[in-house]
């Protein structure tokens, strides 16, 4: 009896198998797509990623993109062989919030990482480096991270899992304390970086933090491994103090370089916001002061470019260049004298929010393509997820650039607006209203709301690309201002973290 039952079962199973096999044949075209191995989650051809993020480098600082003074042959090469975005915007005009946003693909306010000097990383979203690590990448870093407070006496606490397995931390070249590996490295060799700086006014090239960061990247690249990698090459330069090694500054004929965008009217116009912290107050620099400032700033970028060249050479020498995607960007800009302002802060002029963005991967992406589309740095995370074949979380606020990179769509169309935010309420004093401000920029207009203030800023970028004339109170622009305010309000509300997902009807 038992054996008869077994036999029946056998026949039944055979029947089922036949059916399954018939179904399988229909699905043959799916081979390799649906049957992906579960072990390494990234695509088989997922590239290495060299992600260079300089600190405080504004948009118009690259030779091939229209700056006739800088000496950036390696960046020029990336431009010619890659895709550059002429309108790339950071989501905050200062370090922590900007870095938090482009490392997570989320607006800084949504993930609660809005301030420099914050007590801790809020752990509200995974860094792309953690996602990649979990999917089989090895991630490394040299230079700064700056996702929470990073003081000499209060060293940065890393996120619980930032995904970096190699971590050569140097928040800034001149920060003391024990956490600065760069200072420690040279101290062990008997070289005192701070003394050199004091003696010469700059640190010579062989000992420069830029050189050291590139050295660390090269060491990492030369490691043998059987999996893809990502390296965050986070130089401190061209961040102030403007102190390039002398020979780089000597290459500039200071008198010949252009002036920043400044008119005497700026002193009054931009001075209206003096009480909104923090940002330098507008002042009139002499022409030679202005030019020297620019030359020093650019000279630091030249040193970065030279080191980028060394890193690319290492990629080539190790046979990894063709399988490496290079991203070049910066966390935010620097006013460098525009409107009499320097450094950065709670302002959203082009010099601050518009940053270089080049993506180089000629093996797969378009070459010598310059896009005029509006792009946000939070678009990088979904782009990387697309390139590596990883799923994109629905919560992500960035929008993948892959269609532009692969030349599949009009390169000049991406987003209808970009946003940038500032909610740094630190260091409040009685005399100053703290800075809560948001920027909403379309191709034509830029609207800046200083929250809690009557006054805001509205620029007609088509007519006034250098942002001299504030149209906030101009009656001819009332309707436009209202429309932009509504759009900005909507965008801000849509970016709110609404908390846990809804499970039931109530």
């Amino acid at each position: 009896m038992k054996s008869i039952l077994k036999y029946c079962l056998f026949i039944a199973i055979i029947g089922c198998c036949r059916e399954i096999n018939a179904q399988k044949k229909i699905n043959q075209t799916d081979v390799g797509k649906n049957w992906d191995a579960p072990f390494i989650k990234v695509n088989n051809d997922a590239p290495n990623i060299l992600w260079i993020c300089t600190d405080q480098q504004r948009w118009n600082t690259i030779g091939a993109l229209g700056n006739p003074f800088v000496k950036t042959p390696n960046l020029d090469k990336l431009v010619k062989e890659g895709v550059s975005f002429n309108y790339g915007f950071c989501q905050a005009p200062f370090c922590t919030a900007s870095r938090a946003s482009f490392l997570t693909g989320m607006y800084a306010s949504t993930i609660h990482a809005t301030k420099n000097g914050a007590a801790e990383w809020p752990e509200a979203a995974p860094l792309i480096t953690k996602t990649l690590k979990d999917a089989g990448y090895e991630c490394g870093l040299a230079g700064k991270l700056h996702l929470s407070t990073a003081m000499a006496n209060r060293p940065e606490k890393r996120p619980v899992d930032d995904g970096y397995q190699v971590f050569h931390y140097s928040h800034s070249p001149y920060q003391g304390g024990n956490s600065n590996e760069y200072i420690r490295h040279f101290k062990e060799k008997g070289i005192d970086i701070l003394a050199l700086k004091q003696e010469l006014g700059y640190v010579p090239t062989p000992y420069h933090q830029t050189t050291w960061c590139a050295d660390k990247a090269i060491d990492f690249i030369k490691e043998k491994r059987e999996w893809p990698w990502l390296f965050s090459l986070n130089f401190y330069d061209p961040h102030s103090p403007l102190d390039p090694p002398q020979e780089y500054l000597d290459r500039y004929v200071v008198d010949e370089i252009w002036n920043p965008a400044f008119r005497d009217s700026d002193l009054k116009e931009k001075g209206v916001f003096n009480e909104v912290m923090f940002q330098s107050k507008p002042r009139k620099y002499t022409e030679s002061e202005q030019k020297l400032m620019l030359a020093k700033y650019w000279a630091q970028i030249d040193l970065i470019d030279e080191n980028l060249g060394r890193v690319i050479t290492a990629l080539e020498a190790t046979g990894q260049l063709e399988n490496t995607m290079i991203i070049f960007t910066s966390d935010h800009g620097d006013m460098t004298g525009d409107h009499g302002l320097i450094n950065k802060g709670c302002r959203f002029y082009e010099g601050l929010v518009r940053v270089p963005l080049i993506i180089w991967y000629p093996e797969k992406f378009a070459q010598n393509l310059q896009s005029d589309a509006l792009v946000e740095l939070i678009d990088l995370v979904p782009t990387i997820l697309d390139v590596t074949g990883l799923p994109k979380d629905q919560k992500l606020q960035g929008k993948s650039l892959l269609p532009i990179l692969t030349g599949k769509v009009d390169a000049n169309v991406h987003k209808s607006f970009v946003r940038s935010e500032f909610y740094d309420e630190g260091m409040i004093s009685k005399n100053h209203l703290y800075g809560f401000a948001t920027m909403f920029r379309t191709k034509e207009f830029k609207l800046v709301s200083y929250h809690g203030h009557e006054k805001g800023e509205l620029f007609d970028l088509t007519k006034d690309p250098d942002e001299f004339t504030n149209l906030w109170d101009d009656p001819r622009y009332t309707e436009i201002r209202f429309k932009l305010l509504k759009q900005s309000f909507d965008a801000t509300v849509f970016a709110i973290d609404t908390g846990p997902e809804k499970l039931g009807r109530y």
Partner: protein, 490 residues
């Protein structure tokens, strides 16, 4: 054409040397004997054909189930604990001395031209002498992306054709390493999926997840077979096959549950086929236990060289010549670590019937158990509980923190789920196996005979690197090789 004429001239000019055979050594990655000729339910016609004209070793083993550890062993003829390559080269583990003799040095010195395609994966690389390797970087590494597999054949063809002297060519194919790519460049033409296969028997779990993994593992092996076939055709076309010995092995078992990184059969057992083109030896199946440690002595004797006494392996040449080789009664293996995520020192001995695993640190958990589940196989303890019957589930969970000794009766329990170490009727066997293991540890100067050293190395591996295990070198040389005299110079 000119080259051919030139090579003929050179051949004539160099006179009638005793003709030593070429060696074409094919190494695949991460696969046990799951081939048609070993009884697996897949088609591997090319490897089957190789077996049909050579010797198939039914019981072949590696001394440690990890890439670098296994490769350093077959190249030096020494156990990992003897040469120092106790973990992966990619994690900075290394042989402790560059001067340790190896296959490439010996054959090169004896006048062979040595070449390698694919990865070496042993440190220091300078310990090896390769006269040739491809220019293409993709063909110098592990190439888990399986790029340009056709180029393995064209490069091998060029090397074999141009070599005027006898050659040693080691071709390291990337299959069947993870990721288990079901299809690359249309190979295999019809990939299997889970509905077509049962999970590998030694896992003793047969749910759809493990069946899918097995299917994709098989897909890799079918692809491997195709390229092995192409390579053997290429050898044929060079006209040198009649004087070439083809050796094929997998470097260790599959990266599946109870495979790679364990001392179970799924980790240690490999396919080994040797076909001597000079003889028309018909299909022979050798059922003696052999080790990849036997390859170095075999290569030496094939090249007419003396086999130094310090080598623990024996030449397999007698078996190739149709004679009865030396019958090995006990075969040894071990485990130290793989990356820095999974150290767990073990020593292992088996005879025809029994296997003993000595877990040197029974007081600690084996971190590799969960690491393999979480990061490699992506299968949870709950999945095991759900899909395995209770004795199997219990055995799996015991892997996490096994008792000091594991004794298995391979005849009645071929998949090693029933530990007999506490069984009163196996006391004698246990004692016999323990004494054999200890004897071997003494003979081979095993530093971990002192469990304190095992403990130190284990702790150092666990604490080396950052939270996320940066690949810095673990300082194990200081404890394991203080006098650097573990192997004896020839």
């Amino acid at each position: 054409m000119f080259q051919i004429i030139l090579s003929i001239f050179i051949a004539i000019l160099s006179g009638p040397e005793p003709e030593r055979p070429n060696i074409l050594f094919i190494v695949s990655e991460d696969n046990g004997p799951e081939l048609g000729c070993y009884g697996a339910p897949i088609k591997t016609p090319n490897l089957d054909a190789l077996a049909a004209r050579g010797v198939l070793f039914e019981k072949a083993f590696v001394p440690q189930a990890g890439c670098s550890q296994s490769r350093a062993s077959f190249l030096t003829g020494l156990y990992p604990h003897q040469n120092g390559q106790i973990g992966l080269a990619t994690w900075k583990y290394s042989m402790y001395e560059q001067d340790i003799p190896n296959v490439t040095k010996s054959l090169h010195k004896a006048g062979y031209t040595t070449g390698i395609i694919g990865k070496l994966h042993v440190n220091p690389e300078d310990a090896f002498v390769f006269d040739w390797q491809p220019e293409d970087v993709d063909l110098r590494g592990s190439n888990f992306k399986r790029k340009k597999l056709n180029k393995y054949i064209s490069e091998a063809t060029a090397f074999m054709t141009q070599s005027h002297k006898p050659f040693y060519l080691q071709v390291n194919f990337p299959d069947a390493h993870e990721p288990f790519l079901p299809q690359v460049d249309g190979v295999p033409t019809r990939p299997l999926n889970w509905q077509n296969v049962e999970a590998l028997p030694y896992m003793e779990i047969n749910d759809s997840t493990l069946r899918q993994q097995t299917a994709d593992y098989y897909n890799c092996l079918m692809r491997l077979d195709k390229y092995v076939g192409d390579l053997l055709d290429a050898l044929e076309k060079t006209g040198k096959s009649k004087n070439t010995i083809v050796v094929y092995i997998g470097d260790h078992g599959a990266d599946l549950l109870r495979g790679k990184r364990t001392c179970y059969e799924g980790g240690l057992r490999i396919p080994m086929i040797i076909a001597d083109g000079r003889s028309n030896s018909t299909s022979k199946r050798d059922s003696n236990m052999v080790s990849t440690l036997d390859l170095y002595p075999t290569f030496l004797s094939l090249a007419g060289l003396k086999i130094p006494e310090y080598l623990p392996g024996v030449s397999l040449e007698p078996s190739l010549n149709g004679e009865e080789g030396e019958v090995r009664k006990y075969l040894f293996a071990e485990y130290h670590t793989h990356s820095n995520h999974d150290p767990y020192p073990q020593r292992c001995v088996r005879n025809e019937r029994y296997k003993l695993i000595h877990n040197l640190l029974p007081e600690v958990e084996n971190p590799g158990f969960n690491y393999t589940l979480d990061h490699v196989v992506q299968y949870t303890e709950n999945d095991i509980r759900k899909n395995a019957d209770s004795t199997i589930w219990k055995a799996y969970i015991n892997m996490k923190k096994p008792q000091e000794f594991e004794l298995y009766d391979l005849e009645n329990d071929p998949h090693e789920f029933n530990n007999l170490a506490d069984a009163s009727n196996h006391l004698e066997t246990l004692e016999l196996m323990k004494s054999k293991l200890l004897e071997w540890q003494k003979q081979t100067n095993d530093p971990m005979i002192d469990h304190e050293i095992a403990r130190k190395v284990f702790d150092a591996i666990n604490t080396t690197g950052t939270r996320e295990k940066e690949r810095t070198m673990v300082p194990y040389f200081d404890w394991m090789y203080p006098e650097k005299m573990v192997w004896k110079r020839p």
